[in-house]
Symmetry: C2
Subunit: 192 residues, 2 copies
């Protein structure tokens, strides 16, 4: 029993749940992917729901690291960094044949109505995502890259919403077009 | 065995799947809700996937009827009808405590990567939704209610995407705010 084992179970589950959904992923699949016995799983997690919430925290932490890495590099204009950020996700989805989508958006869709504790953590994760946009849009506004009267918080929330919807259509059409349309509307309409 | 029985199974399944997801809804739940034996289910449907696709068709048909009812009433300006359309969904979600979301968007998120036949039908359903917006935006453009150079098809797709993302955040926050933000951005930015 070690933190490494716990982390291995979380990462194996995170990959499976991202690819095939939470309710569609059985405990057996997770144990097999992590190569641990059932007793080991229950040593670290009370039940599958508690495990799912830790997986959600893992997704949120990964999002935060990617966002900080790209958005906080202040050697370039704020909106250029925002474009890089979207470009990184476009490349990720391209490398996976336009499948998977956003793991946080997926869980928000799948779990919000099914579990109170999951829903509470999902709300926090979605706020974490929009806060990354609040950060970059505040800088863009201070630099005059976006209108001075733009409501930063609402714009950030709308961008997260629209990105989640774009990845849903991407998955259904197996095409990058929804992401390109999202990109176009963000820079040509939303931020104007 | 009758078309009525088949329809009763579809409607019972449609309600369950809308409330709790496709993979989270067992065949037993569906049989119980429709009050039919397992043999009856398999008389009408080859398997749960084939059943799910018929449920998706039912959702799409209902969307089409609501859209036609509100959007085709040409006694009022096109954008007023579009507002009525969104208002109808806002009221629906309000009456359900901001749960459920869009049943087509939910299935697109949950099933696009898991089943080829489901994915193909989902693509058609999403096109059906954006085509409703194409219809009303074309009329709005002909009447000068939206810019003459607006790309109707891309705008319609973006509106469906953003609405799906808005309902995801609505479910996670159990609040109408994401829908209000969606509404504001559509009429103050996207259609300007």
């Amino acid at each position: 029993m070690s933190e490494e084992t716990k982390q291995r179970i979380i990462e194996a589950g995170a990959d499976l749940i991202h690819r095939q959904g939470f309710n569609n992923t059985g405990l057996k699949d997770i144990l097999k992917a992590a190569d641990v016995p059932k007793g080991s799983f229950y040593f670290y997690f009370d039940n599958k729901e508690a495990f799912g919430i830790e997986v959600l925290e893992y997704y949120s932490q990964r999002f935060r690291l990617i966002a900080e890495d790209i958005l906080k590099d202040d050697s370039r204009p704020a909106l250029d960094r925002l474009k890089d950020f979207f470009e990184a996700f476009l490349k990720y989805f391209e490398s996976h044949g336009y499948s998977r989508g956003c793991p946080v958006g997926n869980l928000a869709q799948e779990m919000s109505d099914l579990s109170g504790p999951f829903r509470a953590r999902l709300e926090k994760s979605l706020d974490g995502m929009s806060n990354a946009f609040v950060y970059i849009l505040t800088e863009a506004q201070n630099n005059g890259e976006v209108p001075a009267d733009m409501d930063i918080r609402e714009t950030a929330i709308f961008m997260v919403e629209a990105s989640h919807g774009a990845t849903i259509r991407m998955k259904a059409t197996k095409s990058p077009e929804p992401l390109h349309i999202f990109h176009k509307f963000v820079f040509n309409k939303i931020l104007k």
